[in-house]
């Protein structure tokens, strides 16, 4: 079986977790991803993984976001380094980056320059706030984008601080991957490359799709602008949270209350025929708060495990709020390769996030863990660009590559 993207060469010029993950997703499906790392390397990687590397523990972040990549260490600020980069661009299908435009232009990695070397190239960039508008060059910091999107002040309980989730950046990572492959599909039949942009702002906005669209259309509504107490949820049987006896939380998603009320009433010991709750309108409108309090009292009588067993037995859309230990040891996550176990050369058997997408004929692969800085310099310059080995040694001696 071959990789879906194994005829694609990607130049990975990224710093942030999310765009690096985008490049890894392309590598998972067979693309040859070459990570451009300035000599010295550390400044490009940043974050937790550097701390990990220093303290001698597993660099778990690098082995996720830089898996299936090659590393080229190059001083592109030198004349000869720039020439190497130009040769490399001529062989690349995609440049993937989150750098500010000025930095890209300084190295000849902007779209115009890349296009001059490779007319059908796809240059894809994760920006902070999009390619247009007065804030197009604000830094790509997800917290700033999340702050601007409108969800941070409404997801928590009333009176609590706003919440930053980080989900917007992960959304942007996949939007960017979709944009790249869509552009490659277009190139496949037209021969034409182009620029692709998505932003952390866009990622946060699409993560908030339904709330955002509701507010756009309705134009007002305290319940879209302020947090809603869990004891004031719109449907006591959907989107609701109740504490069980052992303190673990139970959540219900059964918007069709007519269908599920008899079952739920029975397992919680409520009277299905209670005239206060015997229609959807009474449950979700007229006597909504009373029903919430009835559930609140009922769920507090038993531990979470008790409720899970009853939900499962009746096929109800309801479950317990789990912590990360659940997916870490969940056989379903393992069976689908969402979480994988791998043999790390230094740290033995470790668990890692795996692959979110299943493909029957061209499955995601784990060909390699994160490369050391410069690990593939020879491979790229000789194997891909055809430089004679002597030239590569000479470039190394001058400090242009490592």
């Amino acid at each position: 079986m071959s990789g879906a993207l194994d005829d694609i060469v990607v130049l990975d010029v990224t710093r942030g977790f999310a765009p690096s993950m985008t490049a890894a997703f392309l590598g998972d499906f067979g693309a040859r991803v070459i990570r451009l790392e300035p000599l010295g390397g550390a400044s490009q990687r940043g974050g937790v993984d550097e701390d990990g590397a220093r303290s001698g523990t597993w660099n778990h972040e690098a082995d996720l976001i830089h898996r299936n990549k090659q590393s080229l260490a190059l001083d592109a600020a030198t004349v000869r380094g720039r020439a190497v980069l130009d040769d490399l661009l001529a062989r690349c299908d995609v440049v993937l980056t989150d750098w500010p435009l000025a930095e890209l232009a300084a190295l000849g990695l902007d779209y115009a320059a890349a296009c001059a070397r490779r007319p059908d190239i796809v240059v894809a960039r994760l920006s902070g706030f999009g390619p247009k508008g007065k804030d197009c060059e604000l830094p790509a910091i997800d917290e700033l984008a999340a702050a601007r999107t409108g969800m941070m002040p409404i997801v928590q309980q009333p009176g609590e601080p706003p919440v930053y989730t980080g989900a917007g950046a992960m959304h942007a990572a996949v939007l960017l991957a979709f944009g790249v492959v869509t552009a490659l599909l277009h190139r496949q039949h037209s021969g034409e490359g182009q620029q692709v942009d998505t932003s952390l702002f866009a990622g946060n906005m699409y993560g908030a799709s339904l709330d955002l669209q509701a507010f756009l259309a309705i134009g007002s509504g305290d319940r879209l602008l302020n947090p809603i107490s869990r004891l004031d949820v719109s449907n006591p049987m959907s989107g609701s949270l109740y504490a069980s006896a052992d303190g673990r939380w139970v959540t219900l998603t059964m918007p069709d209350t007519d269908r599920w009320w008899p079952d739920l009433a029975e397992i919680t010991g409520l009277d299905a025929g209670d005239p206060r709750f015997d229609t959807h309108e009474k449950r979700c409108d007229l006597n909504r708060l009373e029903l919430i309090h009835a559930f609140e009292a009922a769920f507090a009588r038993q531990n979470a495990g008790h409720w899970r067993a009853l939900f499962a037995a009746r096929g109800m859309s309801a479950d317990i709020i789990e912590r990360f230990d659940y997916p870490a040891s969940d056989p379903v996550a393992r069976a689908n390769r969402y979480v994988v176990e791998l043999d790390h050369p230094s740290f033995g058997r470790v668990k890692s996030l795996g692959f979110p997408i299943y493909m029957s004929e061209s499955p995601a692969r784990l060909a390699s863990l994160a490369p050391c800085v410069g690990q593939h310099t020879l491979d790229v310059l000789h194997g891909l660009l055809g430089y004679p080995v002597e030239t590569i040694h000479e470039l190394g001696a001058c400090g242009v590559v490592a």
Binding site: V155, V174, Q195, V196, L212, Q213, W249, S317, R323, Y358
Partner: protein, 402 residues
């Protein structure tokens, strides 16, 4: 202008949100998306009348926006004659997408094994709840799946209920993951000549919504599963602060020069001289004390004043905006993240969430909103599927189409 996915025909047998938004991405970039619905009311999302207890007004923005740029075909797939129509459609399609359960699809003779016999070039895509392996067949609504990933339990202040990321947050993410999977499989199909079976599940996608935190947990950092208070943020310079108005996000590295500037912005020179906070290490160790100091200073100001002072001192900061702010944000409109389009149902322009991915030469478009149930049935039966009028009458008589 050229469309990136021109010529790609997608059968969209989806309901609610994840599947429909996945196909929406393909339709936005020019694919011909044919939404197939049951005769009795179609996609259940057509019935949405309120969101968060707010009346949705005179147009159903939930359904109409998720299903924009699509055609509408009604078939009763429980009938063998309906399945015959579907098979003919499959012959002429590039992609089959469904977020119905595999068991339901099997029951209608629409399994991958069956459809690949009809069209070996077909990309067969499902959005299951928990993946195609491992035997989990529980109901899979957004929040019940999000509950299992662990992402909710690590958000919010300690002791507070877990945080749901927002209506449809996981569905939205599963939707873009699915769109990425589909274009990748199409790229591979165009090279290899045959399609494949792919799946982007709600669970698999959502495990990546908190990828940095979950990966850290898998590597042994067990405290990452727990809630962390903003009062104990490791870097007090990168934190949320309350003002008399909106909260403000300050995003600065823990460096001496940035600390001095922030203190000056907050108007407290004495803090700079405080020996507890004189170094990055000191600020990290005494983070709780420093955050309390910053809290008191910020709380004395309104957000406009604080942000003006931050701007004057070159401190990166943003207000925590609401949905009412983002719908007026020029940056969102300038990038087509929000746009206006004609709504047939109410005969006026309405505002919709737009195009989060910008392709410079083949941009997305929003041309129509979701159509009336079955609006294109007869036309598609005649023009695309080339049934004679007599055959169409026979299908109607059999109840396969309305």
């Amino acid at each position: 202008m050229a469309r990136a996915l021109e010529g790609i025909r997608v059968i969209d047998l989806t309901v609610w949100f994840q599947g429909p938004v996945s196909a929406q991405y393909l339709a936005d970039f020019g694919a011909e998306v044919i939404k197939v619905e049951r005769p009795q009311g179609g996609d259940q999302a057509r019935g949405v009348r309120s969101i968060k207890s707010l009346e949705i007004g005179d147009w159903n923005q939930y359904f109409l926006v998720n299903n924009r740029n699509k055609k509408s075909l009604v078939i009763d797939l429980r009938k063998p004659e309906g399945q015959q129509i579907m098979y003919r459609l499959v012959e002429k399609a590039d992609v089959f997408l469904s977020n119905l359960t595999p068991a339901m699809l099997d029951g209608w003779n629409l399994s991958w094994e069956r459809l690949r016999e009809i069209n070996p070039r077909l990309v067969y895509a499902t959005n299951t709840g928990y993946g195609r392996f491992g035997g989990a067949s529980r109901p899979a609504f957004d929040m019940t799946v999000q509950a299992l990933t662990g992402i909710m339990a690590q958000l919010g202040e300690p002791g507070q209920p877990p945080i749901y990321l927002g209506m449809g947050s996981g569905d939205a993410y599963g939707g873009i993951m699915s769109a990425f999977a589909i274009v990748t499989a199409l790229y591979q199909r165009n090279r290899a000549g045959h399609g494949q079976c792919i799946d982007a599940s709600l669970y698999g996608a959502q495990l990546f919504l908190a990828a940095p935190q979950l990966q850290s947990f898998l590597a042994g950092n067990s405290e990452r599963a727990l809630q962390h208070s903003r009062r104990e943020a490791a870097n007090p310079l990168w934190n949320l602060y309350p003002t008399r108005g909106k909260w403000v996000y300050v995003c600065e590295p823990n460096e001496d020069a940035r600390f001095r500037l922030l203190c000056e912005a907050l108007g407290d020179g004495a803090l700079i001289e405080d020996p507890r906070f004189a170094s990055a290490a000191g600020r990290a160790v005494n983070n709780v004390e420093l955050i309390a100091e910053f809290d008191a200073l910020a709380a004395a100001l309104d957000h406009e004043a604080l942000l003006a002072r931050c701007a004057a001192h070159d401190i990166v900061a943003a207000p925590i905006n609401t949905l009412a702010d983002v719908v007026r944000d020029p940056q969102a409109w300038d990038n087509d993240y929000l746009l206006k389009t004609w709504c047939e149902e109410v005969q006026r322009e309405v505002e919709v969430r737009g195009l989060p991915v910008t392709l410079s030469k083949t941009p997305g478009e929003v041309n129509t909103l979701g159509l009336q149930l079955g609006q294109d049935t007869e036309l598609l039966m005649m023009d695309l599927l080339e049934y004679s009028w007599e055959e169409i009458e026979a299908f109607k008589a059999a109840g396969a189409i309305p």
